[in-house]
Amino acid sequence: MNDNGFIEEALRLVQKGVTVTFPVTGQSMLPFIIGGKESVILHRPGLIDVGDVVLAWVDGNRYVVHRIIKLDYDRVTLMGDGNLTTEHCALSDIKARVTHVVSADNKKRDLYSRWRVRAAKLWYWLRPIRRYLLAIYRRL
């Protein structure tokens, strides 16, 4: 399902103003999005900001659903919550904004509720020990 063709089909619809629910794979957004189990709701990007989770074409070679950690004019830096490495793209490579996460049992949660925004900020500042926290999380 996560072939580029399906992502591009989803993005074609997002561009038309359709709200798309799309399953995600991989563990790069742990602990905020559980790949393989959860899906994301995609909207047209509109105004984006640091802290937003977006679907972007990064480093000219792949699509990712990651969080924006820096905006410098046209240059965007992203990082997966479950990663320690960054990716880069232009503003025009931000193809969709993720607004909600949907669990396997169809429960929807807002990625930008006050406490989740705070948790995401805290998580960002915990980067020096993120590796250890993720290791603990994966064993839970």
Binding site: G5, F6, L13, G17, V18, T19, V20, T21, P23, S39
Partner: protein
């Protein structure tokens, strides 16, 4: 029965899938994938407009080398699946919209 006007057959990554067009929200977890004969039947159903299991069975027998019983069983299962997934509607429902 009729195929609902919002649903179209598209080829994505070499797969035949039913997509909801002009809907406000689409769930990619629920995309309906069709094999070659099911995709052929979808196109036939679309061309017929108001179709029945019998009308599709008849066309399937003309196109493929299958017995009438096999064809009817195949079409019935497929139309039931489409009905369950909500991509078709009865002609009566359409007239009373």
């Amino acid at each position: 029965m009729r195929i609902k006007k919002d649903f179209v057959l598209r080829e994505v990554c070499g797969e035949n899938v039913i997509m909801g067009e002009s809907l406000k929200a689409i769930d990619f977890r629920k995309i309906l994938s069709l094999n070659e004969s099911a995709a052929w039947l979808w196109k036939e159903a679309k061309a017929q407009g108001d179709f029945t299991v019998e009308s599709l069975t008849e066309r399937l027998c003309e196109e493929y080398d299958v017995t009438a019983e096999e064809a009817k069983l195949c079409v019935t299962e497929l139309v039931e699946k489409w009905d369950k997934e909500g991509v078709v509607e009865s002609s009566y429902e359409r007239r009373t919209e």
